[in-house]
Amino acid sequence: MKILVCISHVPDTTSKINFTDGDSKFDTNGVQFVINPNDEFGLTRAMWFKEKQGANVDVVNVGSSETEPTLRKALAIGADSAIRVDATPTDGFFVAKQLAKVAKEGGYDLIIAGRESIDYNGGMVPGMLAKLLNANFINNCISLEIEGDTAKAVREIDGGKESLSTKLPLVIGGQKGLVEEKDLKIPNMRGIMQARKKPMNKVEADETSPISEAVKFEKPAPKGEVKLVDADNLDELIDLLHNEAKVI
């Protein structure tokens, strides 16, 4: 089985979010970048398929050379080789097109992406990629088993879950649940040493024009001060929630 894991290179979850150039660009100054958490669950699941079922696992990112340390980390976790499409990821459709090209050329059976990146929260790349490849697609995937060319998956729905079955080739939008948080792999020294020798292939981007663009950014209005209510005067809290906030 050949697996491709799509890796988004995103600011660490604790990063301060600021913008530059007249609020038109994300300010990367002092920001630590990591593997997108939703992708990391998928990558760890892919490692399970590698260890138990002998799968071959490649990772891919669409980005500039600055994303290579993030891909290198995925190699240290255990992926076999990395592919970087040398381009600035402009919008979800552009990224999906680039990934589709890599996926077609590589002939993958299973493509794992995160349900969304934690920076733009677009949530569209996995579905678009599946459609471009004419592959089956399962979003919000929280469990995945593969046997032969059959996949059994569980999808999170509003208020529950749904068990699904389908055939490969398959694209999933994965999230926490594919593996548990405690099972996420942290690269060890041996992995880090091996990763240095693994292939990091740079490929040219396909010519595609984006169909949407981020024109500007804005930070939420600063919040007013919290109104503190004395623990011995909870009637006041109920009054505020009823008459001021009008939520009870």
Partner: protein, 322 residues
């Protein structure tokens, strides 16, 4: 040219998200000087949408569509969009809508903006405001394609009544075998509890509650308020509560009217996930807890003393205001 909306339903009845999408689309249609057409699937009384300004409903009756299937539903929407020559399509951001939206976008070569929080800032060019960086910022996205898909964030616009006479037409799109390559084997849905996705109020507990055995008072408050229960990430990681209750950056997003955080300190990842809640209340014994900076109302006190007292008072309040 009408604005097309997909109005999600369950067992023949519209979900609240359907009415919110209709309310929003009515105003967008006014801006564009056109009508609103809704697509519904296996709904008993589709004319209900008229209340929220829908002019026409294409109601599909097909037993093959009793269970949601993203590929098939995207195909149905595509045919509706072509029939109506729609240039703007509005979807909600339920799990199902988020699933089908990118498929539809590729089918129609449409630009798609998800998590949209307000009416278009302009329609020419078409620019919408959306939340990004998990609610830590907003991003204005310009869609340059001929067809545009807007994913309206939950609870971002609210319900607005706008009486119209919705004419209901039967619509029979063509479906192919390929649309059903994914088989739904079983659905496991909690039916007797309010879900985080649908809840107006959420009562959430954190590590400050010391153990799963202390969740009785959280569940009691949820019951009094008709709320869903939720928890912070460490609580779900330790297995005190199921993963499906984890709210925050890597868990479920929250956009309820009221969010009550009990014994949750307010790590940045948690706050990001609950920022879209309209009113936030925090109960914590540590006055330095970061959640106090993000909340609207706060009580500094021991949850084990405050919560049972508050539950009693809420019960009295509910009894009086029933």
């Amino acid at each position: 040219m009408s604005v097309l909306i997909y109005t999600e339903s369950e067992e023949g009845k519209f979900k609240k998200a359907a009415f919110e999408v209709a309310s929003y689309a009515r105003e967008v249609a006014n801006q564009l000087g056109t009508n609103v057409t809704a697509l519904s699937v296996n709904v008993d009384d589709a004319s209900e949408l008229g209340k929220y300004g829908v002019d026409k409903v294409l109601n599909v009756k097909n037993d093959k569509l009793n269970k949601f299937n993203a590929e098939a539903f995207a195909n149905v929407l595509k045919q509706a969009a072509q029939k109506e020559e729609s240039k703007v399509i509005v979807l909600s951001q339920t799990a199902n809508d988020k699933y089908l939206a990118p498929l539809l976008a590729v089918e129609l070569e449409a630009g798609y903006a998800s998590n949209v929080t307000a009416l278009p800032e302009s329609t020419e060019p078409f620019i919408v405001k959306r939340s990004a960086f998990t609610n830590k910022a907003f991003n204005f996205t310009q869609l340059n394609s001929e067809v545009k898909i807007v994913g309206l964030a939950k609870n971002a616009y609210g319900l607005k009544e706008n009486q119209a006479e919705a004419s209901v037409e039967e619509f029979s799109p063509e479906l192919s075998e390929d649309n059903f390559n994914i088989t739904v084997e079983s659905v496991d849905k909690v039916s007797d509890k309010v879900t985080i996705a649908d809840a107006e109020t959420i009562v959430s507990g954190g590590r400050g509650l010391k153990g799963p055995e202390n969740w009785g008072m959280i569940e009691e408050m949820a019951e009094i308020l008709g709320a869903a229960t939720a928890c912070s990430k460490p609580v779900s990681d330790m297995g005190w509560r199921p993963h499906s209750e984890h709210v925050g950056q890597t868990g479920k997003p929250v956009a309820s009217n009221l969010y009550i955080a009990i014994g949750i300190s307010g790590a940045i990842q948690h706050l990001a996930g609950v920022n879209a809640a309209k009113t936030k209340v925090v109960i914590n014994n540590d006055p330095e807890a970061p959640f106090f900076k993000a909340a609207d109302y706060g009580v500094v006190g021991d949850a084990f003393e405050v919560v049972p007292k508050l539950n009693e008072k809420l019960k009295e309040f509910k009894a009086k205001n029933a």
